[in-house]
Symmetry: C2
Subunit: 119 residues, 2 copies
Protein backbone atom coordinates (compact mmCIF):
# COMPACT_ATOMS: atom_id res chain seq x y z
CA UNK A 1 0.00 0.00 0.00
CA UNK A 2 2.01 2.89 -1.31
CA UNK A 3 0.79 6.27 -2.39
CA UNK A 4 1.07 7.25 -6.04
CA UNK A 5 2.27 10.68 -7.14
CA UNK A 6 0.90 11.46 -10.59
CA UNK A 7 3.53 14.01 -11.56
CA UNK A 8 6.34 11.59 -10.68
CA UNK A 9 4.72 8.79 -12.66
CA UNK A 10 4.42 10.94 -15.78
CA UNK A 11 8.21 11.40 -15.69
CA UNK A 12 8.75 7.66 -16.16
CA UNK A 13 7.83 7.41 -19.83
CA UNK A 14 7.60 9.54 -22.94
CA UNK A 15 5.87 7.55 -25.65
CA UNK A 16 2.58 9.01 -26.80
CA UNK A 17 -0.65 6.99 -26.87
CA UNK A 18 0.86 4.25 -24.71
CA UNK A 19 -1.07 3.89 -21.42
CA UNK A 20 0.74 2.79 -18.27
CA UNK A 21 -1.05 1.17 -15.35
CA UNK A 22 -0.78 2.82 -11.94
CA UNK A 23 -3.23 0.78 -9.89
CA UNK A 24 -5.91 -1.87 -10.01
CA UNK A 25 -9.04 -1.87 -7.88
CA UNK A 26 -12.43 -3.56 -8.14
CA UNK A 27 -11.50 -5.10 -11.50
CA UNK A 28 -10.82 -1.60 -12.82
CA UNK A 29 -7.52 0.01 -13.71
CA UNK A 30 -6.12 3.48 -13.19
CA UNK A 31 -3.88 4.34 -16.11
CA UNK A 32 -2.02 7.40 -17.30
CA UNK A 33 -0.96 8.33 -20.80
CA UNK A 34 0.74 11.11 -22.69
CA UNK A 35 -1.15 12.07 -25.80
CA UNK A 36 -0.09 14.14 -28.78
CA UNK A 37 -1.64 14.36 -32.20
CA UNK A 38 -4.76 12.59 -33.40
CA UNK A 39 -5.81 9.11 -32.27
CA UNK A 40 -8.14 6.90 -34.30
CA UNK A 41 -11.91 6.66 -34.21
CA UNK A 42 -12.92 3.69 -32.07
CA UNK A 43 -15.41 2.47 -29.50
CA UNK A 44 -15.38 -0.01 -26.62
CA UNK A 45 -18.05 -2.68 -26.81
CA UNK A 46 -18.32 -3.33 -23.07
CA UNK A 47 -16.38 -0.62 -21.28
CA UNK A 48 -17.20 2.89 -20.16
CA UNK A 49 -14.06 5.02 -20.17
CA UNK A 50 -13.17 8.05 -18.08
CA UNK A 51 -10.65 10.66 -19.25
CA UNK A 52 -9.39 13.11 -16.59
CA UNK A 53 -6.98 15.75 -17.84
CA UNK A 54 -3.98 16.36 -15.57
CA UNK A 55 -2.12 18.72 -17.92
CA UNK A 56 -2.92 20.35 -21.25
CA UNK A 57 -6.07 20.49 -23.34
CA UNK A 58 -7.68 17.34 -24.73
CA UNK A 59 -10.35 17.30 -27.40
CA UNK A 60 -12.55 14.24 -27.58
CA UNK A 61 -14.33 14.13 -30.89
CA UNK A 62 -17.70 12.40 -30.87
CA UNK A 63 -19.81 11.86 -33.96
CA UNK A 64 -22.14 14.75 -33.09
CA UNK A 65 -19.85 17.15 -31.22
CA UNK A 66 -16.39 17.68 -29.80
CA UNK A 67 -15.79 18.01 -26.05
CA UNK A 68 -12.78 20.04 -24.94
CA UNK A 69 -11.26 19.07 -21.59
CA UNK A 70 -8.82 21.20 -19.66
CA UNK A 71 -6.92 20.46 -16.45
CA UNK A 72 -9.15 19.02 -13.73
CA UNK A 73 -11.96 18.25 -16.17
CA UNK A 74 -13.17 14.78 -17.08
CA UNK A 75 -15.52 13.05 -19.49
CA UNK A 76 -17.05 9.60 -19.31
CA UNK A 77 -17.43 8.03 -22.75
CA UNK A 78 -20.03 5.27 -22.41
CA UNK A 79 -19.57 1.87 -23.97
CA UNK A 80 -20.52 1.75 -27.61
CA UNK A 81 -19.92 5.45 -28.28
CA UNK A 82 -17.42 6.22 -31.00
CA UNK A 83 -14.76 8.71 -30.00
CA UNK A 84 -11.44 10.10 -31.17
CA UNK A 85 -9.04 11.83 -28.78
CA UNK A 86 -7.10 14.76 -30.23
CA UNK A 87 -4.22 16.57 -28.51
CA UNK A 88 -2.93 19.57 -30.44
CA UNK A 89 -0.17 19.91 -27.84
CA UNK A 90 0.95 17.21 -25.42
CA UNK A 91 -1.69 16.20 -22.89
CA UNK A 92 -1.30 14.22 -19.68
CA UNK A 93 -4.41 12.19 -18.97
CA UNK A 94 -5.60 9.78 -16.30
CA UNK A 95 -7.91 6.95 -17.36
CA UNK A 96 -10.33 4.87 -15.27
CA UNK A 97 -11.68 1.84 -17.04
CA UNK A 98 -12.14 -1.91 -16.62
CA UNK A 99 -9.03 -4.03 -16.40
CA UNK A 100 -7.84 -5.08 -19.81
CA UNK A 101 -9.59 -2.37 -21.82
CA UNK A 102 -7.76 -2.06 -25.14
CA UNK A 103 -6.82 1.51 -26.04
CA UNK A 104 -8.07 1.17 -29.61
CA UNK A 105 -11.27 -0.65 -28.64
CA UNK A 106 -12.86 -2.32 -31.66
CA UNK A 107 -10.10 -1.26 -34.04
CA UNK A 108 -6.92 -3.14 -34.78
CA UNK A 109 -4.23 -0.56 -35.35
CA UNK A 110 -0.51 -0.02 -35.03
CA UNK A 111 -1.57 2.17 -32.12
CA UNK A 112 -3.08 -0.84 -30.27
CA UNK A 113 -1.24 -1.57 -27.02
CA UNK A 114 -2.14 -5.01 -25.68
CA UNK A 115 0.63 -5.32 -23.13
CA UNK A 116 0.81 -2.50 -20.64
CA UNK A 117 3.39 -1.99 -17.93
CA UNK A 118 2.53 -1.18 -14.37
CA UNK A 119 4.68 1.69 -13.15
Amino acid sequence: MKKVNLKQKFKLFNEHWHPHILAELNQQEVKIAKLKGEFIWHKHKNEDELFLVIKGTLQIALRDKTVTLKKNEFLVVPKGVEHKPIAKKEVHVLLFEPKGTLNTGNKKSKLSRRKLNTI
Copy 2:
Protein backbone atom coordinates in the same frame (compact mmCIF):
# COMPACT_ATOMS: atom_id res chain seq x y z
CA MET B 1 -22.36 13.25 -22.18
CA LYS B 2 -21.16 16.42 -20.55
CA LYS B 3 -17.73 17.15 -19.22
CA VAL B 4 -17.26 17.61 -15.49
CA ASN B 5 -15.13 20.40 -14.03
CA LEU B 6 -13.87 19.37 -10.60
CA LYS B 7 -13.28 22.87 -9.28
CA GLN B 8 -16.79 23.95 -10.22
CA LYS B 9 -18.32 20.88 -8.58
CA PHE B 10 -16.52 21.54 -5.31
CA LYS B 11 -18.25 24.95 -5.18
CA LEU B 12 -21.68 23.31 -5.03
CA PHE B 13 -21.54 22.06 -1.44
CA ASN B 14 -19.80 22.78 1.83
CA GLU B 15 -20.61 19.99 4.27
CA HIS B 16 -17.63 17.97 5.38
CA TRP B 17 -17.50 14.16 5.11
CA HIS B 18 -20.52 14.09 2.78
CA PRO B 19 -19.60 12.60 -0.60
CA HIS B 20 -21.35 13.76 -3.75
CA ILE B 21 -21.57 11.66 -6.90
CA LEU B 22 -20.17 13.09 -10.13
CA ALA B 23 -20.41 10.13 -12.46
CA GLU B 24 -21.12 6.43 -12.72
CA LEU B 25 -19.27 4.03 -14.98
CA ASN B 26 -18.79 0.26 -15.05
CA GLN B 27 -20.77 -0.13 -11.80
CA GLN B 28 -18.32 2.24 -10.13
CA GLU B 29 -18.86 5.79 -8.94
CA VAL B 30 -16.72 8.90 -9.07
CA LYS B 31 -17.41 10.99 -5.98
CA ILE B 32 -15.96 14.11 -4.44
CA ALA B 33 -15.95 15.19 -0.82
CA LYS B 34 -14.67 17.97 1.39
CA LEU B 35 -12.95 16.64 4.49
CA LYS B 36 -11.98 18.42 7.68
CA GLY B 37 -11.09 16.93 11.03
CA GLU B 38 -10.90 13.24 11.90
CA PHE B 39 -13.13 10.57 10.44
CA ILE B 40 -13.77 7.22 12.14
CA TRP B 41 -11.87 3.98 11.83
CA HIS B 42 -13.68 1.69 9.41
CA LYS B 43 -13.17 -0.81 6.61
CA HIS B 44 -15.12 -1.90 3.55
CA LYS B 45 -15.86 -5.59 3.35
CA ASN B 46 -16.07 -5.85 -0.43
CA GLU B 47 -14.83 -2.60 -1.88
CA ASP B 48 -11.40 -1.24 -2.71
CA GLU B 49 -11.39 2.54 -2.37
CA LEU B 50 -9.28 5.13 -4.16
CA PHE B 51 -8.57 8.57 -2.63
CA LEU B 52 -7.11 11.20 -4.98
CA VAL B 53 -6.30 14.55 -3.39
CA ILE B 54 -7.34 17.57 -5.44
CA LYS B 55 -6.53 20.20 -2.81
CA GLY B 56 -4.91 20.14 0.61
CA THR B 57 -3.13 17.42 2.57
CA LEU B 58 -4.92 14.22 3.57
CA GLN B 59 -3.59 11.76 6.09
CA ILE B 60 -4.92 8.23 5.89
CA ALA B 61 -4.17 6.38 9.09
CA LEU B 62 -3.75 2.62 8.77
CA ARG B 63 -3.15 0.30 11.68
CA ASP B 64 0.58 0.04 10.96
CA LYS B 65 1.39 3.43 9.43
CA THR B 66 -0.04 6.72 8.21
CA VAL B 67 0.07 7.74 4.56
CA THR B 68 0.14 11.46 3.77
CA LEU B 69 -1.34 12.48 0.44
CA LYS B 70 -0.84 15.86 -1.17
CA LYS B 71 -2.36 17.31 -4.34
CA ASN B 72 -2.18 14.90 -7.29
CA GLU B 73 -1.39 11.94 -5.06
CA PHE B 74 -3.64 8.94 -4.53
CA LEU B 75 -3.87 5.82 -2.42
CA VAL B 76 -5.88 2.66 -2.97
CA VAL B 77 -7.14 1.18 0.29
CA PRO B 78 -7.95 -2.48 -0.40
CA LYS B 79 -11.12 -4.14 0.87
CA GLY B 80 -10.84 -5.30 4.44
CA VAL B 81 -8.16 -2.81 5.44
CA GLU B 82 -9.03 -0.55 8.35
CA HIS B 83 -8.39 3.12 7.71
CA LYS B 84 -9.15 6.53 9.16
CA PRO B 85 -8.91 9.70 7.04
CA ILE B 86 -7.64 12.80 8.85
CA ALA B 87 -7.66 16.33 7.45
CA LYS B 88 -5.98 18.88 9.67
CA LYS B 89 -7.10 21.59 7.25
CA GLU B 90 -9.85 21.25 4.66
CA VAL B 91 -9.11 18.73 1.93
CA HIS B 92 -10.80 18.26 -1.43
CA VAL B 93 -10.74 14.62 -2.46
CA LEU B 94 -11.93 12.53 -5.39
CA LEU B 95 -13.08 8.98 -4.65
CA PHE B 96 -13.38 6.09 -7.05
CA GLU B 97 -15.17 3.05 -5.69
CA PRO B 98 -18.01 0.63 -6.44
CA LYS B 99 -21.50 2.06 -6.71
CA GLY B 100 -23.20 2.18 -3.34
CA THR B 101 -20.07 2.04 -1.18
CA LEU B 102 -20.98 3.43 2.25
CA ASN B 103 -18.59 6.09 3.50
CA THR B 104 -18.34 4.55 6.97
CA GLY B 105 -18.03 0.97 5.67
CA ASN B 106 -18.67 -1.53 8.46
CA LYS B 107 -19.45 1.13 11.06
CA LYS B 108 -22.81 2.69 11.77
CA SER B 109 -22.18 6.30 12.69
CA LYS B 110 -23.80 9.70 12.62
CA LEU B 111 -21.25 10.28 9.86
CA SER B 112 -22.81 7.54 7.67
CA ARG B 113 -24.28 8.96 4.46
CA ARG B 114 -26.57 6.45 2.78
CA LYS B 115 -28.25 8.81 0.34
CA LEU B 116 -25.89 10.72 -1.86
CA ASN B 117 -26.76 13.38 -4.39
CA THR B 118 -25.46 13.44 -7.92
CA ILE B 119 -24.23 16.92 -8.76
